[in-house]
Symmetry: C2
Subunit: 220 residues, 2 copies
């Protein structure tokens, strides 16, 4: 029942990723598919956030998720068992990021007919995925409280390419030394257009507000 | 007082990193310098662990630390202000890992005369650093409890190249769902030679045992 399609994505043979990403973005827009690239460190809560968010949106939209992992299929199985989303597992065979060509391979294999909203859960990595445009309409970056509030200083590009920044696991603020105001200030200094959300995906805190943001962006 | 030397390391022009890493490892061994490569996700506690560990060892050994970061120098300043270690900040200019040539550049700039034990704090990344031999005698990988116990399944190469695996932030076990026994079983299945330590660097738990492991390895 939990069978998951698995695709080993091939390294792109093209060196014009930015152009090809723009092309994909335009194609998807014409199909009225809103495509979201989700990035974070390992263990920041990408999958839990997606499950919590999809539950709020799946009665309104047809949703798909491409789960990128080096090797495992844990996360795809979780999404499949806890939501109604269409799911495919992409294996990168050791690669540290996805580009727009790998994204396209995933969409072709999974099928996007009838899909309104498609998420890509990128490889857990704050460095490399930021360098490759996947063709997404929105980059959502998740930073979790236990990682520390200095991450936007240390991994600047990731926070520069972010449209939405989720500060996740806020239920653990009492036990970690994390200054949300200072962290937000640093993010907005580098990227004034970033929109910051404080959430706990596990405790379903702040996810309603995030879901409203998605509805707003999809219906405009 | 907290002035830190900063070196922008240049991308290696050599394509034989494995050979060059072996060469560096042998050179350092002849100089009786024990070189340790520290790797983890962003925010797993590399710097806090180093400070806690160095405090236990600095009366016995002359210690140096090369702090690799994409851009900032926070961690180098922390090490400098909290320990007696010689410190240099390496900036990678966006690169996601260090190789043996970048390591060598750092050592040449910092100076390793009289040093018994040198740590490299690699870029926070569970993917790319695992692919590049830095010339280290020991790879120490830190996995923190808030990241989740599934990381060895998802980032297999990192745990295969690890000599020591530290499960850090064990003081937070009561609030996170993390199965140490299952996680250890998965690590040891892929890498039977890995030695696993349960620590809380912040609370100074388990660091004495880790320090003893270093003494044992350095004096054999």
């Amino acid at each position: 029942m939990n069978d998951i399609d698995i695709l080993l994505v091939k390294e792109s043979i093209f060196d014009n990723n930015n152009e090809r990403a723009s092309l994909l973005r335009d194609e998807l827009k014409k199909k009225k598919l809103f495509f979201v690239n989700v990035m974070s460190s390992p263990g920041a809560g990408k999958t839990t956030t997606l499950i919590s968010l999809i539950k709020k949106l799946e009665d309104r939209y047809n949703i798909a998720v491409m789960e990128a992992d080096i090797d495992s299929d844990f996360d795809a199985k979780r999404i499949k068992s806890e939501t109604k989303a269409r799911v495919i597992q992409l294996h990168t065979g050791g690669m540290c990021h996805l580009d727009s060509d790998m994204t396209r391979q995933g969409m072709e294999k999974m099928g996007i007919e009838g899909i309104d909203l498609c998420f890509l859960e990128n490889i857990g990595n704050l460095v490399c995925p930021a360098e490759f445009d996947t063709g997404a309409h929105l980059n959502m970056v998740i930073l979790s409280v236990p990682e520390g509030d200095d991450k936007p200083v240390k991994y600047p590009l990731m926070f520069q390419v972010a449209d939405l920044v989720l500060i996740n696991k806020i239920d653990t603020l009492p036990i970690f030394d994390f200054n949300i105001e200072e962290c937000s200030r640093v993010i907005l200094k580098r990227n004034p257009n970033a929109k910051i959300f404080k959430v706990s995906a596990l405790k379903d805190e702040g996810i309603d507000i995030l879901a409203n943001e998605f509805v707003r962006r999809m219906e405009k």
